[in-house]
């Protein structure tokens, strides 16, 4: 059975404990939380969107420079990170499912796995940033010249600026996500989440998936521009 009907009367005590005074029913509270989280995610879409718009504009007018500069991005690390995040999305979805089934052990396991994947992502990102620094490819702060195609040196700085802004903002969101997951883990260990109350897990899951989606776009747009040699 794909979907399980959860009887409304079950674990009424758990439900009531988490019902805030201004809501009439737990369903209303859940509805409001879901709509609120999606509204917040829309703000995030527009937030990243400003950078995507900048990227779109500059890629259009400086395509040769962008295609050439993209060769400097490490596809192996970027691709690995993409895979890592996709795995973390799976474990996050499984964590939400575990909470829906009141399965504390699985919930804890999948939350920890998600956090591990998230940490791996950030570690790999750290390596990437470090190598960019060492190669002198950080615009403004540590730009020691652009070697292979000096005619693209200026526009390469634009791509690299966008690279650091977009992946940096994404990484920041990952860090916040890890913090939220830690909070969930603590609550899960305390056996807070049940079939009748799992809203925080689901909401934070939505956030985590969103951060994954941003990376799904960042990977091809930054690492796979034009034709790779």
């Amino acid at each position: 059975m794909a979907d399980t009907l959860v009887p409304a009367g079950e674990d009424a005590a758990v439900k009531e404990k988490h019902l805030r005074h201004h809501f009439a029913t737990a369903e209303q509270q859940m509805d409001a939380a879901t709509l609120g989280m999606w509204t917040f995610l829309i703000t995030e879409v527009l937030f990243f969107g400003g950078m995507f718009a900048s990227y779109a504009v500059y890629r259009n007018i400086y395509l040769d420079a962008f295609a050439s500069t993209s060769q400097y991005m490490n596809v192996v690390l970027g691709g690995t990170n993409t895979a890592v995040l996709i795995c973390s999305s799976l474990t996050m979805a499984l964590a939400v499912r575990a909470a829906q089934l009141s399965n504390r052990k699985h919930l804890t396991l999948f939350l920890i796995l998600t956090m591990i994947f998230g940490t791996v992502f950030l570690v790999i990102k750290g390596f990437e940033y470090h190598s960019k620094w060492v190669e002198g490819l950080v615009p403004g702060i540590h730009w020691s010249g652009y070697l292979e195609h000096p005619e693209f040196a200026h526009h390469a700085q634009i791509l690299f600026s966008l690279y650091f802004y977009m992946t940096g903002m994404h990484a920041l969101h990952m860090v916040v996500g890890l913090g939220l997951l830690s909070y969930l883990l603590i609550q899960a260990r305390r056996n807070i989440f049940k079939a009748t109350y799992f809203a925080p897990v689901e909401m934070i899951g939505l956030y985590w998936h969103f951060v994954d989606i941003v990376w799904i776009f960042l990977f091809p747009l930054l690492y796979l521009i034009g034709h790779r040699r």
Binding site: T34, T39, P220, L224
Partner: protein
């Protein structure tokens, strides 16, 4: 009236989630592989199509939008539409900057030397 339509909790099957995961991994491999093939302007089209497909899978299955209210679906679409407005209209400025104005015989502006009195 306030609508409470999520009394039913839709719990996904593990197999569904794993299938989606598999699809996402394959799509990642695909997009990487295609980037090594020279297709000119078509590269970006394919890359975006694959990315949009991956994102849609995440939104529809992992984020549970397929079981959510119509209102939530509307919000998701609205967010994407607004992003589209930002990108497309900004883009249109850059695309049309190089267009040259062609004076027509019937326009009597100062640009085409018509006598003005």
């Amino acid at each position: 009236m306030t609508t409470h339509t999520t009394h039913i909790v839709h719990i996904p099957k593990v197999s569904t989630l794993v299938l989606v995961w598999l699809a996402l991994m394959c799509a990642t491999g695909l997009t990487t592989a295609v980037s090594y093939v020279e297709l000119g302007w078509f590269n970006i089209v394919i890359a975006l199509l694959i990315a949009v497909t991956k994102a849609s899978l995440v939104v529809w299955i992992f984020m549970g939008v397929r079981h959510t209210t119509n209102l939530t679906k509307l919000f998701v679409v609205a967010g994407l539409v607004w992003l589209g407005i930002l990108i497309l209209i900004t883009f249109s400025d850059y695309s049309t900057r190089s267009w040259v104005y062609q004076a027509q015989p019937w326009s009597h502006g100062p640009g085409n030397g018509a006598a003005t009195k």
